[in-house]
């Protein structure tokens, strides 16, 4: 029996239950006037998101991130495959009460105020009236919109709309939240706030699944990431693992302006800034360089492992995909 079938017949125990399990989810659009031309928005995707983690779904624009989210939300119907959310079939209506969704560049009813909007969404989510008022107030405070709660949404700036969007996503205290490009259009302050909020959600024990093309955010926040490009999954893993799987380098700093000949011979780049010299070498060259410095009686200041950024990993993956595609084309 295949793994998927086993998973369905013997559902995992509560402790092991993944927050999201995507099983071969696929979407092909038929476009063109007679709907003949197929457009593969998402190739069969297998992905698991663990409970209580912040998971980043990365990829350039048009990679299939939003499509995946929409499939999970039930806004779009898959060509094939299925998914389990919080242990239940993703089409199960009871799932919706436990999840929150912030779409990309959200837009809300122009003529409602923030307060009214959250009240409305609370009603739709089935939050009981007594709890609702309290909760709305709480959330407004949490997203920093309490002062403008009486203002009509059409007067809101983009950043404010984003915050309202987050508010409606967490209003009913869901176990799992989905954010599509939550930082888009925000200024650095706003981005910081959203990041803090996501951390807070994690602290509350919630699972956060968000898509973005801004890698630095993912690097700062995520426990694990997946990279998707042109509808296909290119890589999955913990941020630490991914960034350190790329060849690690080390930065070595010593006092003075002298670069010993032996070090020059290694051929690494040296930077002299003021009273310090910096050099970046491969990890395996680290000991050799430190020996040289000791021999030459240079004063060692720091040895810092350099992590290749997620960006580099990302670009690397994409380029490899392009060349593979080029080869097979």
């Amino acid at each position: 029996m295949r793994k998927r079938e086993i998973a369905l017949i013997f559902p995992p125990t509560v402790k092991e239950m993944a927050a999201i399990e995507i099983l071969g989810l696929e979407k092909t659009y038929k476009i063109g006037f007679w709907r003949k031309r197929p457009k593969r928005a998402l190739l069969p995707l297998d992905l698991t998101v663990e409970d209580g983690e912040i998971f980043g779904f990365l990829g350039p624009n048009g990679a299939g991130k939003t499509t995946t989210l929409k499939l999970l939300m039930g806004l779009v119907f898959p060509t094939a495959g299925s998914a389990r959310i919080l242990g239940r079939e993703w089409t199960d209506p009871s799932v919706k009460a436990q999840i929150g969704f912030l779409p990309e560049q959200p837009y809300f009813y122009d003529y409602l105020t923030a307060h009214e909007l959250l009240e409305y969404y609370g009603q739709l989510s089935g939050v009981p009236a007594k709890q609702r008022t309290q909760r709305v107030d709480q959330v407004l405070h949490q997203v920093g919109l309490r002062d403008v709660q009486g203002l009509q949404l059409r007067k809101f700036s983009k950043g404010m709309l984003q915050r309202v969007g987050i508010g409606q996503a967490i209003l009913h205290d869901p176990k799992l939240v989905f954010f599509d490009e939550p930082m888009s259009g925000l200024d650095p302050m706003g981005r910081r706030e959203v990041r803090d909020l996501m951390e807070e959600l994690k602290h509350q024990g919630k699972t956060v699944f968000f898509s973005t093309h801004i890698l630095s955010d993912a690097e700062a926040l995520c426990d694990r990431v997946a990279i998707i490009h042109k509808g296909e999954l290119r890589g999955v893993g913990a941020v630490e693992d991914l960034t350190s799987s790329v060849q690690g380098k080390v930065e070595i700093v010593w006092q003075g302006t002298l670069v010993p000949a032996a070090i020059k011979a290694i051929g690494a780049e040296c930077h002299v800034t003021g009273d310090r010299v910096r050099i970046i070498v491969e990890e395996n060259q680290q000991d050799a360089v430190i020996d040289i410095l000791r021999r030459e009686r240079q004063r060692l200041i720091a040895v810092i492992p350099v992590r290749t950024s997620l960006e580099a990993y990302f670009v690397e993956k994409l380029r490899r995909a392009e060349t593979t595609a080029g080869k097979t084309a």
Binding site: Y29, L75, P93, Q105, Y107, Y109, D110, L112, L124, G126
Partner: protein
């Protein structure tokens, strides 16, 4: 389930009101007052006739236009602007959304018609200086007009469940026009043979039939309206709207919201 529909309906109503849809009433009142004053100078014998005809025709036309444009705006705009995504990510079923929208829109139109009715009675009082019992017939005509609105609303929702706002408006308006010719279509079908007969018959029963709903001219002449007609029109409107809404739900349930 019922609660959610009610919430969607009341939110729709609120949105329409704040969108200043009801401001159309101002234009309506101005039109009617101007006409009422003018009419008195044209032909003494038929001022009442003109006011009733003009007033009710205006209620009907204004209402149909609003029914089409708001009805279409409701679903298309929500999809375009993605307000729909956050609504549907909640435990709200797609069909609840459609039905809730329908009731919200219907409610808006009924309120709109109510205020317009006051305007018509006001203009009538201005030209006749009194009310007679036959004037109660105006309420019947208004009731039929409201039934027409319900049908148009349901069609607007049907079209916006799959079509762009512009096309939906064109389709809905076309059906309104065809609906006034529906009787002719049925007569034509009666006279035709073979395939064209079946096609014409099918079309004639599929399009909304508005002929029976327009009693404006007869009540302007104070001719009574049969109770049977009221019953039949009510049933037709309910069934037709149910048909269009079912279609809307069928389409909407299956649609990819890109």
């Amino acid at each position: 389930m019922r609660a959610r529909i009610a919430h969607i309906a009341s939110n729709t109503f609120r949105e329409a009101v704040r969108d200043r849809v009801l401001y159309n009433l101002i234009a309506f009142v101005l039109l009617l007052s101007g006409a009422a004053i003018l009419v008195g100078q044209i032909s003494i014998e038929i001022e009442k006739l003109v006011v009733i005809n003009l007033g009710l025709t205006a209620v009907s036309l204004f209402g149909v236009v609003i029914a089409i444009f708001i009805g279409i705006g409701l679903v298309s705009k929500e999809i375009e602007k993605r307000t729909l995504y956050t609504v549907l990510s909640r435990p709200v079923q797609r069909w609840e959304f459609i039905i809730g929208k329908f009731f919200g829109l219907a409610g808006t139109l009924v309120v709109n018609a109510f205020f317009m009715a006051i305007g018509v009675f006001g203009a009538l009082f201005y030209v006749s200086h009194k009310f007679v019992r036959a004037d109660a017939l105006i309420l019947v005509a208004l009731y039929f007009i409201v039934l027409e609105f319900l049908i148009i609303c349901s069609l607007s929702l049907l079209f916006s469940s799959f079509s762009s706002p512009l096309l939906s408006a064109v389709f809905a308006f076309s059906l309104f026009v065809i609906g006034s010719f529906a009787e002719d279509l049925r007569n034509f079908a009666g006279m035709a043979h073979g395939l064209s007969r079946w096609l014409a018959m099918g079309a004639a029963y599929l399009v909304p039939n508005f002929s029976a709903f327009n009693v404006i001219s007869s009540i302007a002449h104070e001719q009574p309206v049969a109770g049977q007609l009221v019953l039949h029109n009510t049933l037709y409107a309910l069934f037709y709207a149910a048909m269009a809404l079912s279609g809307a739900v069928l389409i909407f349930e299956r649609r990819d919201l890109k």
